[in-house]
Assembly symmetry: C2
Homo-oligomer: 197 residues x 2
DNA sequence: TGGGAAAGTGAACGAACGTTCATTTAGAGG
DNA sequence: CCTCTAAATGAACGTTCGTTCACTTTCCCA
């Protein structure tokens, strides 16, 4: 049988993960100490080690949850049978919603690059590749002008979307509108139309 | 008279800055210790404090040098009287050359966000704004389709360019070609042409 | 030849780091 | 009621951190 999540309804481990994700997202991995996380949760540092094996282990758990959130949101769009451009736009919309969300999970995935934490860098890289592969498929399905470098297009898109974490402040344009305009700009171009080819 | 940089020809302070820039770029600010920097230079930690007031002071000096490099390269393009689109493309080319250069200066500017280091965050933010203002002017000079959000276009461009630091590996397409294609994609769009407006 | 500033040493400081562990707390089930 | 277990404590460990400082080395210039 399973360990049975009775007691309340689910492990308090979730609360620890939420707090760690928030701090990792706001201050970065190396600038966040175990004591910082414990303090934010009103708990002593030792309590954390009842649920996680190490600081890097916490990051890995946050990363897994973050990638799960993003891929889940994007996958939901991909199997809805839209046209390639509509699918891409909706996926970017969802991606940006996650990256700019209050909770830190997706923000950590964007902010902490795998090489930053040697102990789990291979795992983090695998998780990243997992979620970026969705965008590879989305871009591959597009009907593009001949000679377009699809790999570069994918990186352009991800870069433009993820960079929003640096400048975006709540109250500005909604994430969905931003994603839509980025995709539209890349699809149709921003130059004045009329006198070309 | 000036303090006269006799002795050799220039301060060894430069060597310290180079080493610090390299480590900050590769490992990040918080993951780099003063002892790491000293070891990379074959020197004891104390030696560093003969030239810099603190670890944050080193970062600030690296940041200043990094922003100086980028702005210098971009400014050189801006006063050459090209058409707005050519000017933007050349500026992006130079920007990417710096961001992907072997030396760590520009990489630090892209990687370390001002809020990461509270003691100098105001200075770092000012330096960043300084260099981003060049791109504001470059984008403002463009002839764009009506309704285009120029601020978002600027962030899209900077995000796409700066994200290259995450995925670029030497030996792939040259930085200049990457910058050129990113700008062209945003200018003309990547969709197949023919059946619109 | 000798004085002096710049450059670097090496040891030490207090603080903060990740982590461990014997012990206490608290709630659910037989 | 009493036990069993998960959860958390709180003190401690060894290490590393940023930083200081009295002292030595180096070498230009008068």
């Amino acid at each position: 049988m399973k360990p049975a999540p009775t007691r309340k309804e689910s492990a308090p481990q979730q609360r620890f993960l939420d707090g760690a994700a928030d701090l990792f997202a706001r201050n970065g991995y190396h600038a966040t100490s175990i004591r910082d996380i414990a303090r934010a949760l009103g708990v002593t540092p030792g309590a954390i080690y009842a649920h996680f094996p190490s600081k890097a282990g916490i990051l890995l758990a946050v990363y897994e949850a973050g990638v799960a959130r993003i891929t889940e949101a994007v996958d939901h769009v991909m199997q809805s049978g839209e046209t390639p451009w509509i699918a891409l736009e909706k996926a970017c919309h969802r991606h940006l919603d996650e990256v700019l969300a209050d909770n830190g999970y997706a923000r950590v995935v964007v902010r902490v690059v795998p090489e930053d934490v040697a102990e789990v860098s291979a795992d983090l890289a695998r998780l990243r590749a997992d979620y970026e592969s969705r965008f590879r498929h989305l871009v591959d399905a597009l009907d593009l002008a001949p000679g377009t470098n699809r790999t570069l297009l994918r990186f352009t898109l991800l870069g433009a979307l993820n960079w929003s974490q640096v400048w975006y402040r709540p109250g500005l344009t909604a994430p969905g509108d931003i994603a839509g305009e980025i995709v539209r700009n890349l699809k149709d171009g921003v130059a004045v139309k009329g006198n070309e080819a």
